[in-house]
Point group: C2
Chain length 726, copies 2
């Protein structure tokens, strides 16, 4: 059926793809007229236009360098070429909006230099990637160049002579297109976000140059059968919910070529209805990745992610503006656009600017939601449980996805917590200084795989000091975790549970997390982590926290004058052991402060356990790691159940020197029942009983259950507060 659709599209598209009126790939004549007419009306549009002019105008009299490729990312030639394609794109926009030929000439002069240089390029001297680039160290960047240069050319080609067009098309573009579609054919045909860029680049050049061959390869793969290429990528790179398996940091990056080529295809062939494709998968992808942000706009750092990235990045500005034009007004996008504080000088950008002027102060509506993973949505997923709103928003992230391709971390059943705008239970993110040449050319650093990707760098269970899947990516990519059940119907007691049976060959893991609003305003994360094995193991459950230790309920030994590492492998070698403690039943508590809020982790200790307070930074010969603390509970057991309660409490006002509710309200945690089928946990908070029962095997929503003490409920879990069901 999908095949038939492709063939249909293919035929349809072929009818339209020749002899287009240009520009058409990014902006049309009508779009440009619309922008021009509104340019002075809306402040953000006006400002964005001025910024373009301020960027380009001083350069018009300069000779723009197109240096022979030499440097890795962060180096001069890399940054110069990266700047060049954006300069060409921006000048192309100015040409269309102002009609001033100087902008077209500016683009032409640069393109001519590429036309002279590109035919002579060999693989980049700094190429270390499996898909080496020519203008850049990796082909991915060449694809970026193709996409923007193609769109730029489309915007100015009507000012070129026929001979000039041929010069550009044969000299600047053909060598790059040939390189990626022939030499790197296998890479081009991947269903992977780098290949999305490649297809978008070749597609944009195809549309700009009326080259049907290029367009067809871009949309349907080099063999043009639709099994590969842009449409197949739309079908295969997102889950049905629009989740991209590499995580939101990469969705941000992946969505740009989707938005740009889809826009070009939509302009040249609206009949293909590309923005409706797969039940509006691009619409879902944008919204899903925007929900996976902190209130300051930063993407949740799942997998390899740089924490600085937020939705004000150019990719999201472009996507929001294009999608607004296509899908119409959207309150969340408006809130995002206001933080972006700029638009692309385009029809969508003008419409967004108009909406911003009409309705300032829109707020993102952050929701509790699950995003499934996998093309069919059956490879686990990630859930975000949320409570509160505005500055007081709490977001608990629970990850039970598939591996996340080459950027995946060994973090099955991991949790992270954001609260009051801060990352509280942290994910290291990736070890990389993108764009900084001194740090290995801005590439991923060795500590990325050796530490940041390892299980101990996360907030999930580590058995026997060994990472999930033994830290082997290929192994991790074979499996995914699975949701067991969830219930988001009561906003005061959000519950999700998932299992993983592959991360360790002989240990089955289950984790249920609940975000609970206790009447009166307390907010608790109740985390029940079960491991099941036939044999005894050493289990470590780490909580990477962000804050200053305030107090503990237990004595601990610090290492005053000499520090040792926690272990020697699988990420443990990067952790200094700052303190350790032998603790006994029934409970330990650990309070830390992050800005204005106190957080207390209360841990059930059934018999005894070891606690480690660690800090990253050991075995770090190049100072690539940040120094970040963790609280780790270690137990030796066969099938332990870890029960932890993280309480968000109090207020600390350092300016006015007040603290309020600086102490935890949790006075005890007890495991009341724990058998092969079910368990019951009892927590005393503020003198009241909070009870959580959960099943271990029977997750039917209709089965009835009873505890030994006579509590009854239906379904996989139940929560009672002060005797009343939540």
């Amino acid at each position: 059926m999908i095949r038939l659709l492709y063939i249909f599209c293919f035929v349809l598209f072929s009818l339209f793809c020749t002899a287009q009126q240009h520009p058409v790939a990014f902006i049309t004549k009508a779009d440009a007229a619309f922008v021009k007419a509104n340019l002075e009306k809306y402040p953000v549009l006006q400002k964005s236009f001025r910024e373009l002019k301020n960027q380009i105008d001083p350069l018009l009299t300069q000779d723009i360098d197109v240096p022979f490729p030499k440097d890795p990312a962060g180096g001069y030639t890399h940054d110069r070429h990266k700047a060049n394609y954006m300069l060409m794109f921006n000048a192309g926009l100015l040409y269309n909006v102002t009609g001033d030929a100087k902008y077209a000439l500016f683009v032409k002069n640069i393109l001519k230099k590429y036309a002279a240089m590109n035919p002579g390029l060999k693989n980049h001297p700094e190429a270390t990637s499996s898909s080496p680039g020519r203008i850049f160290w990796q082909a991915l960047n060449d694809a970026n160049w193709m996409l923007y240069s193609g769109l730029a050319y489309d915007m100015v080609r009507n000012s070129f002579t026929t001979a000039e067009r041929k010069q550009i098309e044969d000299g600047a573009f053909k060598p790059e297109v040939d390189y990626v579609t022939r030499d790197l054919k296998d890479w081009f045909n991947l269903l992977h976000n780098h290949a999305v860029w490649a297809c978008a680049g070749v597609g944009a050049i195809g549309i700009a140059t009326d080259n049907k061959d290029y367009i067809d390869m871009a949309l349907y793969g080099t063999t043009k059968d639709g099994k590969k290429g842009f449409l197949a990528q739309m079908d295969n790179l997102f889950s049905p919910d629009g989740y991209y398996t590499e995580g939101p940091y990469y969705t941000r990056y992946a969505i740009l070529p989707y938005a740009l080529l889809a826009n070009a295809v939509n302009n040249t062939n609206p009949g293909i209805k590309i923005f409706e494709h797969r039940d509006r998968i691009l619409f879902k992808a944008l919204n899903t990745c925007l929900q996976q942000t902190n209130i300051n706009g930063q993407f949740f750092p799942l997998n390899d992610a740089l924490k600085e990235k937020d939705y004000t990045s150019n990719e999201l500005v472009t996507a929001v503006d294009i999608f607004w034009k296509v899908y119409g007004p959207n309150n969340n996008w408006l809130a995002v656009a206001e933080k972006q504080d700029r638009v692309i000088v385009s029809r969508g950008g003008a419409e967004v600017a108009a909406a911003l002027a009409a309705k300032p102060g829109a707020k993102m509506n952050y929701k509790t939601l699950e995003s499934t993973d996998g093309v069919k949505g059956d490879e686990g997923g990630v859930s975000i449980l949320r409570a509160g709103s505005g500055k007081d928003l709490t977001s608990l992230i629970f990850k039970y996805t598939s591996h996340g391709l080459s950027h995946g971390h060994f973090d099955k059943l991991n949790i992270n917590l954001f609260d009051h705008g801060n990352e509280i239970l942290t994910d290291y993110g990736s070890v990389r200084f993108i764009g900084v040449e001194q740090k290995y050319g801005g590439r991923y650093l060795p500590e990325n795989t050796k530490y940041a990707a390892q299980t101990i760098a996360h907030n999930t269970l580590v058995a026997d000091e060994t990472s999930h899947f033994n830290g082997i990516g290929e192994e991790g990519e074979k499996y995914h975790s699975d949701k067991l059940y969830n219930n988001f119907s009561n906003p005061d007691a959000l519950v999700i549970a998932a299992k993983d049976e592959h991360a360790y060959s002989n240990i089955a893991m289950q984790r249920q997390v609940a975000l609970i609003n206790i009447p009166g305003g307390k907010r608790l994360v109740v985390d029940i982590f079960e491991a099941n094995s036939q044999s005894a193991h050493q289990y470590d459950l780490p909580f990477q926290y962000n804050g200053q230790l305030i107090s503990t309920s237990f004595p601990y030994r610090t290492f005053a004058t000499s520090l040792q590492t926690l272990g020697s492998k699988n990420g443990y070698q990067f952790l200094w052991k700052e303190a350790e403690a032998d603790v006994k039943a029934p409970m330990v508590q650990f309070t830390f402060l992050n800005q204005a809020k106190f957080y207390t982790l209360s841990s059930l200790v059934p018999d005894s356990a070891k606690i480690f307070l660690t800090r990253s930074g050991a075995n770090d010969p190049n100072f690539n790691l940040r120094r970040e603390p963790a609280f780790i509970i270690r137990r030796k057991d066969t099938s332990p159940v870890f029960v932890n309660v993280l309480e968000i409490h109090g207020d600390y006002d350092s300016v006015n020197e007040f603290s309020k509710d600086a102490y935890s309200s949790i006075s005890s945690i007890a495991m009341i029942e724990n058998n092969a089928d079910q368990l019951l946990v009892e927590i005393i908070t503020g003198g009241k009983k909070l009870q959580l029962a959960k099943m271990k095997k029977d997750f039917s929503t209709t089965s009835n259950h009873t505890t030994a003490g006579g509590l009854t409920w239906k379904g996989p879990y139940a929560i009672w507060y002060d005797g009343k069901k939540m």
Copy 2:
């Protein structure tokens, strides 16, 4: 002369101080009418009024607890009493602005409880201070209570019966006044900021209760001879420039009682011209402390200082509003008021709110300035060298003050750097979690004196691993550093030099720092630190930096699996040695990244030196310290000259993945000449020569000098760039 003035004031004041019409201490009838008339006109006033109502109205029906004193700072009774005096003050304001008797009744009910409790109070059970409190653990807090309760009483007393007044004055106030003026007489008569609070408290109660005895003790000391008390404190606690020797964090705290009592005195006795006293010393104090802030409003963390404190604190809101009323409009105060985003519901507050409505967006005008220290301005000082403006402001702080009383650190000739809104060369500040009961009741922690106050925690020279003055405060208080020369006339080459000859008995130290704008936009701090001794010493020059290490020009050894401390005493025991290096002439470079900017420290190595990369956090059994890095240069020598250049360079855009100018432009540093009289340093930056000559003994501004190479200049120093004098 000053004595005569006191006597004159004293006589004059006596004529006015009886039978005032109340309210008069904080707000007058006319003030209240003015506020009421403008309440709905100006948004910030309206908002601040609403906030007061929102705070007080829900409490009107509640029985406010006045618990028997029990807890230390951060505990319940402490925070309750602290809240109570502000509640009374705020309710008093509401009574005057609305005329609604319920607010007066609210204050009365609370005061009656204090009247019942206070006569029975003994020293606080948690009192550990040399000036124990009764309602609170320390008398300072009792003084806070007296000041605000006194002002509150003044605002509501006209609604009390004569019997009620007597009940309050005898029961609530007299025991407190008697306690601080008799039992704590010596403390009350100190010339110290705690005593300012005590005098302000007794003075406010005196004015509120028409008690001439109290007023006289407050203004002139318990013996009423003017040698002590509030006016003597105005004469003795600030330098002529308005610098308060404990530093801006404490000026912030100290200025509140000055503002409040001066306002009350001015209302009751304008003839005394208290706001003109000592050439407008209070005006200068406010402006000096506002200049000693980062662009985000945080006070420079000189001495014991909590870094979170900024000028939005209640103390500064109060001072700005009172001073505006007295001294008239001021653009810097307007900028500060806008960030404060609230006003005191008072005449000054209403005027500020009106100005904010009329002229939003005022910007602080940060200046290069020197503030002398010492009552006569002859005990050294602190200079702030500034370049750039707005977000691009660089502020180099050079401290050559006296010790700073009990809150002083052993940091003679210390430098700190703020740039782009961030603290770059850092001062640890103080080790204290104010208001957090779990951290030793919110008091200073042991690591404050053991680490934060020690020399190695700063950016100045440490000889033989021993702090200045052997870390003995009493010794430090005997001496001060001295300015040698400065020149702020060329904004592109700001220079200041100072010496210290007491911090080490056998070592004289001189430091010249220059903040230089190189044509083309580079900004450099050139730091020449000379030590002079008859014998060899181990000299450590630390640079506490805030950022991520990006690269070094030298190889270093890290301690992969085991860390040791840098030393065993004088603060060294708190530093982990993360790396060390043996380096050789001529230069080492060290680059770190802080958010969007790169910083490279280039250090001259004349022969050889050791480099240590350290991090705080060793010997920290209660996790009281932050983990912060330092770069330390160690040399063994008799009279070394340390030449260091800190270059601010480049731009790092992590959202758009660009870095620009990530490499230092400094290619060499050389000591061209260095004899007993003078030295000449040559720095190559961007291929151009930057030369700095300085004298070692002859600091006359009119002497002429020549280098061996034939460079000539006049005065204590000279700077040439590319052959031209700067």
